[in-house]
Subunit: 314 residues, 2 copies
């Protein structure tokens, strides 16, 4: 059973949603209207040995990242983070405490307030963060709004987190910035908020890799997309590291995952205005088309067989 099947099966167990629920499970966040405000909510769990290797990431980094990836989900709805609940388990209490230091650091960095949580003993360092964000514009941006003719753009750069992990694994020095992108992602809160205020049609954060996440956006929107690998924003550092590891830099950027950049679908004019408002680069990488599925090409030549991350894939 693959992760998406689990999510689908769980979706099938849901009771009818109460009136406050604007967006049920299935997007980056759910959305609910409480009082006059639209709130978005999500949770993400990180487990040692599966999401990170204990020797490569300090407990503080794990706690920081657990908050950052949730903040990224909020950003992908056009929300700003407000409150988190955090549960942590580890073989030793000291590791839980160190992990929570990272949680507190990330909360301070992103302006979220920790409402509480739980601590427990567990065989492996495990942290689950649940987040509540506010949508200042009142209109969350969903995965499902892309229409043929929209362009697809990504914030920042791709492949940096995957390259950072490569550097850690290979023990390659001199790639501190990329390692930082792997250990402590920078969720794009301001960028998501601006995209929402400008009326972007659809948005998703890139946690599982562009190939997989563009697929989610297309599936929910009932459209397809074409992405040009040569347009992906890949830094020279990522190229050098990929080359040293014998990997194709653009394929790494399209499939590596964990960049926590935003993928935005919107008309060309909207993206131009968005780019003008942002301090990080916004790069058009493809276009939304009729049909379904994600097709990759390099300047017109089809590239097959790209796929992202599935936690339960055998």
């Amino acid at each position: 059973m693959r992760e998406l099947d689990v999510v689908r099966a769980i979706g099938g167990l849901l009771p009818p949603a109460p009136g406050e629920v604007l967006v049920p499970v299935g997007d980056d966040c759910a959305a609910v209207r409480l009082g006059g405000t639209v709130w978005v909510a999500a949770a993400d769990m990180l487990v040692e040995g599966h999401h990170f290797l204990g020797g490569l990431a300090a407990p503080e980094d794990v706690g920081y990242k657990a908050v950052a990836v949730n903040v990224s989900d909020v950003a992908a709805m056009g929300g700003v983070p407000r409150f988190v609940l955090c549960s942590g388990g580890a073989p030793e209490a000291e590791a839980v405490l160190r992990c929570f230091r990272g949680v507190a650091e990330a909360c301070a960095a992103f302006g979220a307030y920790p409402l509480g949580g739980d601590t427990t003993r567990a065989g492996a360092l495990t942290v689950d963060v649940a987040i509540l964000g506010e949508v200042p514009g009142g209109r969350p941006v969903l995965r499902s709004g892309a229409v043929p003719g929209d362009l697809l753009a990504v914030t920042g750069e791709l492949g940096a987190a995957a390259a950072g992990l490569l550097a850690l694994r290979r023990g390659e020095g001199g790639f501190g910035r990329l390692v930082g992108r792997h250990l402590r992602p920078e969720p794009r809160v301001r960028e998501g908020l601006e995209a929402a205020l400008l009326g972007a049609h659809a948005m998703i954060d890139l946690s599982d890799g562009l190939a997989t996440d563009a697929g989610h956006l297309c599936e929910r929107s009932g459209v397809g997309c074409r992405i040009d690998l040569r347009r992906l924003p890949v830094s020279g550092e990522v190229r050098r590291l990929a080359e040293a590891a014998g990997e194709d830099a653009e394929v790494l950027a399209a499939t590596g995952g964990e960049d926590y950049e935003l993928l935005v679908a919107a008309p060309e004019g909207t993206l131009r205005e968005l780019a003008r408002r942002l301090s990080v680069p916004l790069t058009v990488v493809g276009e939304v088309v009729e049909g379904g599925g994600v097709s990759f090409h390099r300047g017109g030549e089809p590239v097959e067989g790209l796929a992202g991350w599935d936690h339960f894939r055998a």
Copy 2:
């Protein structure tokens, strides 16, 4: 390092609370005012091998219990459950799905709506539930309001969950009701709500055992208490099972944990009215006194050395 130390250390990491926060971490739930409504929030994580033994509890039971224990935290504030986020991990996707079936069942039973969560691979079945509840009366009941002269009362019965676990471990048949109390606790939502509406001074749910949880309530209230073991509501079944296992039934009831009953501190008249309104028994077990600490006695004879559950105790 003990669990309480971890919680204290984490409390020391907190930034100043935003204006909406009425009650920060440290009670059964935090409380925030959003719009015109007071919401309470909490999270609890269950881990196989620590909170339950894989052979004794089905994944469905684990998911159900993860929701129930969070609902109990909401109940202890005088709230009603509204929304949950649930993250689950296991070696196999099938176990996560079965666990989420239990989550969905509990959500239906307690009127909570699942807003989403996360699924992942993990070495041991792990489930973390974060909950949002609404406080209809607008005034959450804290642990900190008990004053000398209050009486202490518990809902339902004590020791049933611990006895149920004993029965499971010893393979004793014929104790299905007690086993059910261990596997699928019945959080006291209606009871907590009525206590809040009647202006109970302090309340806590009995997750770690009366000895430990009464200690929390006393510490936060700056008071002590005296509890008479002979007054604890212990059923004949629990007595029979404790006897067969060579355990003192009242000590089991005072220290066993996981009953998820409510401990309420209030003036005698309030408790009398509360008892009148409830369908489950409400039993006065002791009184709040000046000073600090929890002292147990049997009809006047002091009983020493009772303590509850600490996840990190060596």
